[in-house]
C-alpha cells in the first residue's frame, strides 16, 4: 500500500522546498509519495521540471490559493 509523507515548506524560498523534497525522497520506498506544501510560486513549476529530469513520477500539483500542494511518487 502506498505511503504518503507530507512536508510543510510554506514560507521557505527557492530552492528550499525542492531540497526538502529531495532529502525526503531518499528516505522512502519506491512507489511511496511525498506531498510538499509550498507558498513559493517557482517551486510549483520547478518540481515538475526536476521530476521529469531525474525520472520520478509527478502525481499532481494543486493550486490551493495561497500555496500549492505538490505530490511526487518515488520511481527509482
Amino acid at each position: 500500500m502506498t505511503q504518503r509523507k507530507k512536508i510543510d515548506a510554506r514560507g521557505a524560498f527557492c530552492p528550499g522546498p525542492l531540497m526538502e523534497l529531495i532529502a525526503a525522497l531518499k528516505l522512502i520506498e519506491i512507489g511511496d509519495e511525498i506531498e510538499v506544501l509550498s507558498s513559493d510560486k517557482g517551486t510549483a513549476a520547478d518540481v515538475p521540471e526536476w521530476v521529469a529530469k531525474v525520472g520520478h513520477e509527478m502525481v499532481e500539483v494543486i493550486d490551493l490559493g495561497d500555496h500549492w500542494s505538490i505530490i511526487v511518487r518515488k520511481a527509482k
Binding site: 521557505a12 524560498f13 527557492c14 530552492p15 531540497m19 532529502a23 526536476w50 531525474v54
Partner: protein, 132 residues
C-alpha cells in the same frame, strides 16, 4: 545521456553572487549534473569557520532582503548539494596562501581540498564554466 559537468568559479565577496552560486550548484547537483565548485579571491571570507550570519555575508540592498526574509543559507545549500548530489568543492590554494590560512580556517565538511587554478581550468575543459 549524461549531463555536461558544471564548473562554478566563485570569486566575489558579494552575498548575492555567493547565494546565486550556491543555488545554481545545489540545484544542478541534485538534478544529476556533476558540479565542481572553486572558491577563490574575496569569496573565501564567507567560508571562514566560526562566523555568525551577520559576519559571514557582505552585500548590497538585495543581500539585506535575503537575510531579512530568511532565504536558504548559501553555505547550507552548498552542503546540501554535496550531500544529495554529485558535487565537489575546492578552495584556491593561492587565496589560502595570500591570507596565511589553511583548510582548518574554513567551515568544516564543505571542501574536498585545495586546488590550483591551472588544474581546475584543465578539468573544466570537459564541461561548462560559470563565474560568480
Amino acid at each position: 545521456m549524461p549531463s555536461t559537468p558544471l564548473f562554478i568559479l566563485v570569486c566575489s565577496e558579494s552575498h548575492e553572487k555567493i547565494q546565486m552560486a550556491a543555488m545554481t550548484a545545489s540545484v544542478a547537483a541534485v538534478s544529476e549534473r556533476p558540479v565542481c565548485v572553486f572558491i577563490s579571491m574575496g569569496a573565501i571570507y564567507s567560508f571562514k569557520a566560526g562566523l555568525s550570519d551577520d559576519e559571514r555575508y557582505k552585500g548590497s540592498r538585495f543581500a539585506a532582503v535575503l537575510q531579512e526574509k530568511g532565504a536558504p543559507d548559501a553555505l547550507e545549500l552548498f552542503a546540501m548539494g554535496r550531500q544529495l548530489g554529485e558535487m565537489s568543492m575546492y578552495v584556491c590554494s593561492m587565496a589560502l596562501d595570500i591570507l596565511g590560512w589553511d583548510e582548518s580556517d574554513l567551515k568544516e565538511n564543505l571542501f574536498d581540498g585545495t586546488l590550483g587554478l591551472t588544474k581546475y581550468l584543465s578539468d573544466a575543459e570537459e564541461g561548462q564554466l560559470i563565474t560568480f
